[in-house]
Amino acid sequence: MTEKKLTKGNIALAEGAIQAGCRFYFGYPITPQNDIPEYLAKNLPRVGGTFIPAESEIASINMVLGVGASGERAMTSSSGPGISLMQEGLSYMAGSEIPGLVVNIMRCGPGLGGISPTQGDYTQAVHGGGHGDYRNIVLAPASVQEMFDLTIRGFELADKYRMVSVILADAMVGQFQEPCRLTPDHPVTMPEKPWALKGRAGRKPQLLKSLYLGPGEQEAHNQDLQKKYREVERNEIMCEESLLNDADLMIVAFGTPSRIAKTAIRMAREKGMKVGLLRPITLYPFPSQQLHEHSERIRKILVVEMNTGQMLYDVKISAHKDADISFYGRPGGGVPFPNEVLDEIVKAMEK
């Protein structure tokens, strides 16, 4: 049955991990995500799982790497400074094609920054962070239910493509409470992992590595990775398209700003302005084609983010060449009010 329970975002995420069959958590404390490790420290041992309070985020991600190489599901969670420390490990995991799940409950930066909600890590998560030509799957929940569901999805996608999945959420989604169904909406499965390192018994020795030094080997390896990424782009895009059929203006927003945008859209429609929303749920793969198709008809676009314009670049390269793109962003912990977004809607409509 679909019984719902009032749940905090971070807890829904942690419970989602357990339901996804994740039995290994490694992490180092940092606000605003501490309720994730605290929940798992208590609940993983109850299902035979392992929780290690790691000495650093560098250690955490490499422990995830070790479990992933063993063919089991593992995760870590952190925020800004800790995610920065993990970038080397993420690059190695991409290079060696070792799956795992990393949660970033974003806090504002740069530097020690602050602990209030932000989306300042979009570029780091979606366009790089670590060295080399690689991608992570990036999922952006906007509700407590999605914190639960997308965590499960994240593990499944990571295993399917032998990639790292990143849950990129702002502190608001992590901290607020909503009714949530705490059971998976489909049977969770784990694929066979013949590539995992389990000892050579009964087969030839196996190897997981990212070092390719022979002439042309690294280039060929990169081309293979890119082929895989194209497949992810073909198959795994998720986005919410709301009130776009009659819209004259399309807001593009993810996470908390998409929720605020929905309120502003209601206010705008009450005033007779036809506004809709495109909400990317997967930030990588980005819903470029969906956005492009809508922009062929809806030429006015307003991008709203809690940063100074990071997803904006993906919108710009995806939208129709004649699209008229406006941006409203608040960095450093600023959360836009619906009436601020409404003002931007009015400005964009009058342009």
Binding site: F24, F26, T50, I52, A54, E55, S56, I58, A59, S60, N62, M63, V64, L65, G66, V67, G68, A69, S70, G71, E72, A74, E88, G89, Y92, S96, L197, K198, G199, R200, A201, G202, P205, Q206, L207, L208, K209, S210, L211
Partner: protein
């Protein structure tokens, strides 16, 4: 004619990339022999660090994971927790373990992770061209200590085997050397002992091996063996610094 010596089966017949005279090759051989003598090759997974040992998988025919520079103890932690029935070892250089990876090694040891670490101390960063490492001897000239290591500016060589022996989680910590046949045999015994600690679930075990880097020391292979005897051992004494006898967890 009777054959009295043959390559142990888990050591591959690949030609190694090591410089002629380098004792990394001897360390690989005794490691493979230890694995075969214990009969654990089918369930052993090796995790080399980044350094001249990175191609371990070409020479020892077991499952292998490549770890980021210095992070092998964290990777091994994850792997051992996921597969407690497997034998997991790290093979790390002194740059890898005693410089960039000190945090990971100390905490893996302190948690008493039931893993084995083979630590190759050759007093330099071999792979990158012989730069100064935390293990570089006082007065030793390297490409980044061209006037010789000076304790006033670069501090003293770090003694990993002694340092790790102070941690409760450590079951076994020893320092051995590869400069003479007798020492090679003792080194192999120490490696077997370290693996036995893991097999018996005693906790973290580490064997520090004094090894040559004749290329970067700019001496002949034979002179390099003398360097170990006359310069390294006086500062890095051989011996067992910790050996747990029962499951005496505190």
């Amino acid at each position: 004619m009777e054959k009295i010596f043959t390559r142990t089966p888990t050591l591959t017949s690949s030609e190694t990339h090591f410089c002629p005279g380098c004792t990394h090759g001897i360390a690989h051989r005794i490691l493979a022999e230890a694995i075969d003598e214990l009969g654990i090759a089918d369930r052993t997974i090796g995790i080399p660090g980044v350094g001249c040992c990175v191609f371990l998988y070409y020479y020892i025919a077991i499952d292998t994971l490549e770890a980021p520079h210095g992070r092998a103890p964290a990777c091994a932690t994850g792997m051992k927790r996921a597969q407690p029935d497997k034998i997991i070892f790290n093979y790390q250089g002194d740059g890898d373990m005693a410089a960039i990876g000190t945090s990971e090694i100390i905490h893996a040891a302190n948690r008493g992770e039931n893993i084995t670490v083979i630590f190759i101390n050759n007093s330099v960063y071999g792979m990158t061209g012989g730069q100064m490492a935390p293990t570089t001897l006082l007065g030793q000239q390297t490409t980044t200590s061209p006037y010789g290591r000076n304790f006033q500016t670069e501090g003293y060589p770090i003694k990993m085997a002694e340092m790790l022996a102070t941690l409760e989680g450590v079951a076994y910590s020893a320092r051995v050397s590869l400069h003479k046949p007798k020492n090679v045999m003792q080194a192999k015994k120490a490696i077997i002992k370290a693996f036995e600690m893991q097999i018996n679930q005693m906790g973290f075990s580490m064997v520090e091996i004094l090894s040559t880097c004749n290329t970067n020391w700019r001496v002949s292979p034979i002179e390099a063996l003398d360097v170990i005897e006359n310069e390294m051992i006086p500062y890095f004494p051989l011996g067992v610094f910790k050996e747990r006898t029962g499951k005496d967890f505190l």
